[in-house]
């Protein structure tokens, strides 16, 4: 086996810093513009107006949230836009002590999937919980959206600042 294995050379950060090994470094400019489409386009527009909206499947009548132009179970087109509440239920959550960019947090972030009232069972979105004691977050917790001020909204999921427990 050894006769086929070419001896390799491990490299370390120091090798590049000291110039022991030559290295080319560059950044790609990977900018993109993603077309939101009809369903997500409307969803984002409604967010800008401070509203949540779903779409009903013509076949099975489930209300999909976020809205989709076709039902993934029936493969039929969806039909009506369905206005939804801004309250919901936590169906899963996590306590995050290390952020995505490897920064340690004293106070954990609490991302949660919130099933929105008015949509079909389990139809939820991933967002953050706020004004919540991490110890008391549990599955089934009732929450409500806290929005940015109308002039600060831009048609993004971040137009909702977080979901807070309904007291």
């Amino acid at each position: 086996m050894d006769q086929w294995v070419y001896p390799t050379t491990g490299l370390h950060e120091k090798d590049f810093e000291t110039g022991r090994v030559l290295v080319e470094t560059w950044k790609s400019k990977a900018e993109y513009a993603w077309d939101a489409g009809i369903a997500m386009g409307r969803f984002l527009e409604e967010l800008r107006r401070g509203r949540l909206v779903g779409r009903r499947c013509n076949s099975c009548h489930r209300v999909l949230f976020p809205p989709r132009m076709f039902c993934e179970q029936c493969f039929r087109p969806t039909g009506d836009w369905v206005p939804l509440a801004e309250t919901g239920t936590v169906i899963t959550y996590s306590l995050v002590h290390v952020r995505w960019d490897m920064v340690r947090l004293d106070q954990p972030l609490v991302p949660a999937v919130v099933a929105i009232d008015g949509a079909s069972a389990g139809m939820g979105i991933l967002h953050l919980l706020g004004e919540a004691n991490p110890e008391s977050v549990k599955i089934g917790l009732r929450v409500q959206a806290v929005w940015k001020k109308p002039e600060e909204r831009e048609g993004a999921i971040t137009d909702i600042r977080y979901f807070k427990p309904i007291s």
């Binding site: 050379t9 490299l11 590049f16 090994v21 030559l22 290295v23 080319e24 470094t25 560059w26 950044k27 790609s28 400019k29 990977a30 900018e31 993109y32 513009a33 993603w34 077309d35 939101a36 009809i38 386009g41 409307r42 984002l44 527009e45 800008r48 132009m69 076709f70 087109p77 969806t78 048609g155 993004a156």
Partner: protein, 159 residues
């Protein structure tokens, strides 16, 4: 699919703009490193000749691509700096697709002693048109400006 929905508000037609930050780090490998260091420190372009099939690789390789024989130190020799212009073209865009300040020529050159071709910028004096077969020479940056990159070669100049 095809829904009869139309957009009710122009703002509903939206694109989400984003950016994927991608950093690259590329090392030349053992043969490439030696090629680039020789270019930097000695101002020489190295090639490696296969004893078996006679092909001279520029830049050198660890082994012959055709017969898979190793290319030992003894077969590494200087090539060029003169050579022959094999082909050429004019470029108007940079690597990101943005227009260049001014268009540049690039030339494919077979250096004296090499089997293959090397691509680099081609410097054409005013009024001179490129033509296959033109004799050219590699112009290197001054020693202190070289840093172990293919760009240590400034361009091909027409002889």
């Amino acid at each position: 699919m095809g829904s009869a929905d139309t957009l009710e508000h122009p703002t509903e037609a939206r694109t989400w703009k984003g950016n994927i930050p991608v950093w690259h780090r590329y090392t030349a490998g053992i043969a490439g490193e030696r090629f680039l260091r020789t270019l930097k420190d000695q101002g020489k372009i190295l090639g490696a000749r296969c004893q078996s099939c006679g092909v001279v690789y520029v830049p050198p390789r660890m082994y012959c691509e055709r017969c898979l024989k190793p290319l030992p130190d003894g077969e590494w020799k200087e090539v060029g700096p003169r050579g022959e212009l094999v082909s050429f073209t004019r470029i108007f865009l940079d690597l990101d697709g943005e227009p260049l300040q001014s268009p540049r020529w690039v030339g494919l050159v077979r250096l004296e002693g090499a089997s293959g071709v090397l691509i680099h910028y081609l410097h054409l004096p005013e009024g001179i048109a490129p033509r296959p077969g033109m004799p050219v020479e590699a112009v290197l940056k001054p020693a202190l400006e070289r840093r172990g990159s293919i760009l240590d070669i400034e361009h091909w100049k027409v002889l």
